[in-house]
Subunit: 201 residues, 4 copies
């Protein structure tokens, strides 16, 4: 008859993720989360000890979810083009669910610069950059890309993927798109981004 305890525990986590990462409520209090979940505020502490521990958990899980998706794409050892496409696809898809996750990454890292959430180790990152460099050179040789340093290539991808979610209200103001139009707009982003990165799309 009674709701399983794990249900409440899960409900709290799901609600916290929604409030933080989907609604973008940076300053959400435990009461806000409890209200959104329809439970008592004390339950949050019963299950998670403190607001920080709850936040750390959902934050870690949300980034982990993203990392898993990314790793899933990366581990396939796809050719460059398909890899990029897969990464963009994964990023956009997860952003539909948690459009404001990056906002927390940013503010968290400003608060605590030591915060480590990297997908890749520095060594792996270096390796990845070299891989990109070689791939770009091949594309350039084939006339399908302009020369670009790996750092800028990475930054471009991240910017083009993340900002339309983060900056939704700003872009809406600057483009006169209503909510329906913006949803449609986000659907088109993948092709737009690929077309921008590769000359032959």
């Amino acid at each position: 008859m009674e709701v399983l305890s794990t249900d409440t525990e899960q409900l709290i986590k799901d609600t916290a993720k929604k409030v933080f990462f989907k609604d973008g409520k940076l300053h959400a209090t435990t009461q806000d989360i409890a209200d959104a979940a329809g439970i008592n505020r004390a339950s949050i502490h019963y299950y998670y000890r403190s607001r920080k521990l709850l936040f750390d958990k959902v934050f870690a899980e949300a980034t982990e979810e993203m990392h898993v998706k990314m790793a899933g794409v990366i581990s396939q050892n796809l050719p460059f083009r398909q890899l990029i496409e897969g990464v963009i696809d994964a990023f956009l898809k997860k952003s539909v669910e948690h459009p404001y996750l990056e906002l927390f990454l940013i503010t968290e890292m400003n608060t605590d610069p030591n915060l480590s959430f990297a997908i890749l180790s520095p060594e792996e990152t270096e390796e990845r950059k070299k891989m990109i460099q070689l791939a770009v050179e091949a594309e350039v040789a084939a006339g399908t890309m302009k020369p670009i340093e790996p750092e800028h290539f990475i930054a471009n991808m991240m910017s083009l993927c993340a900002f339309p979610f983060l900056g939704k209200p700003m872009i809406q103001k600057a483009t006169n798109l209503n909510d329906d139009g913006y949803a449609q707009f986000l659907q088109e982003r993948k092709e737009v981004i690929l077309k921008l990165l590769f000359l032959d799309r």
Copy 2:
């Protein structure tokens, strides 16, 4: 080289801008600002009555500064290419000073969606979009751009300009760039962005 604040009122404002928009401390307290300015917390209330009024003031000023720069570029009625270049240039330059201003725009608009900070009215925005559409068509005809809708063009520009500042820590993690390297990286953004937007750069 240092800003000369003869009076405390100006010092408070400058410090608040720094703490909020340069350091990106979204949750900065009046004590944080007072400490950063080396003054007593009560002085903030002496000059600005409340935290909110101070915030509103520096926020309004910072956005106004940006708007003025942008308006300065736009009002010149430059040809498309030079307009785009000018806008990117202005945006990057102001971002060096206030890299996190957009972060506040975002969170403020999430809190109060009615918040109006637009440079352009809806009518002017429509006009601007049409202008871009025509210009893009001309570029496409000349083989110097791929077809793109104005909304995506605008979003691309905003994303490519803003995110490298907002997302600095994230991009640094993803690119292994240290602070010096990142400063150099930002210097190169203008050319990289233009190269991305126009086929003949």
Copy 3:
């Protein structure tokens, strides 16, 4: 004999009434009330949101208590003599509990002159004045009162009832009565007042 406050919410209200209206502490802080109640200051906000809301509540309740007592007397449609006696009796009895309630009525009305706490509407007040006028005329005819305007009759009653409570310390100084003597003195007020108002007492 002591009020049994099973819950803190009631305890806070009772204590606030005591501090304000029995002890006459006009400037009592939330900490003062919390100390007097033996609870944490935050509990006051837990139950009443703000000092003002708590004050408004206990103030409204205390005046309401008085109004109910008065209305109970008035609604009986007693003959003039018994009405006056009943009103004085009710007023003195409630003053034993909340001698300083009028002090707050005064200061509240000085702060916000629109404050409405009237027992009677203007129309009812006019009616009451006429009733008093007629009754006085009858008493005068019977040789048991001197002529007096209703306004002065009302003011006299209020003054003679209220001031000995409000002005306790002043009257004590002027009469050399100690606390026990003053309690006895207050017991005698009803007869003294009636003797003053009516020639045949």
Copy 4:
């Protein structure tokens, strides 16, 4: 050319008396007083060191003014009737200027019960009570008063004089008198009170 310093010192005192005792602003801040006087808040501290010292001074002066008037009446060794009439007259006249002085006496004495402001010493008070007792007995014998204890006689006088000023807003509500009507009403008080105290008026 310059205003004499004593002028400002006096202006502060006069303004403080007005704000406190005429307007009944119990919670007036130094800023309120400075605004009412049209001077800088710091001047108050320049002349009076602290708010408390200023308050103590004007409070002492205002009570002293009253005491002097009373003493002037009392010292004349007038017959009972003229004494009472003189006291009522003096009290009502000073109340026109400082209607709320008693309000402060009350709250001050509640805050600090040791506060001593008595006109008469305990011994003098006893003497006065005996004098009243004898005079009342004579009036009773002459059929011009009913028997009454001196304490009640004193309390009645104080109540009938003071409360119509203190409780102006309350009495206005209870009598439907507007401001002009109330001014007229106060003019009539002296006769009304005397008529109440003495059977042959």
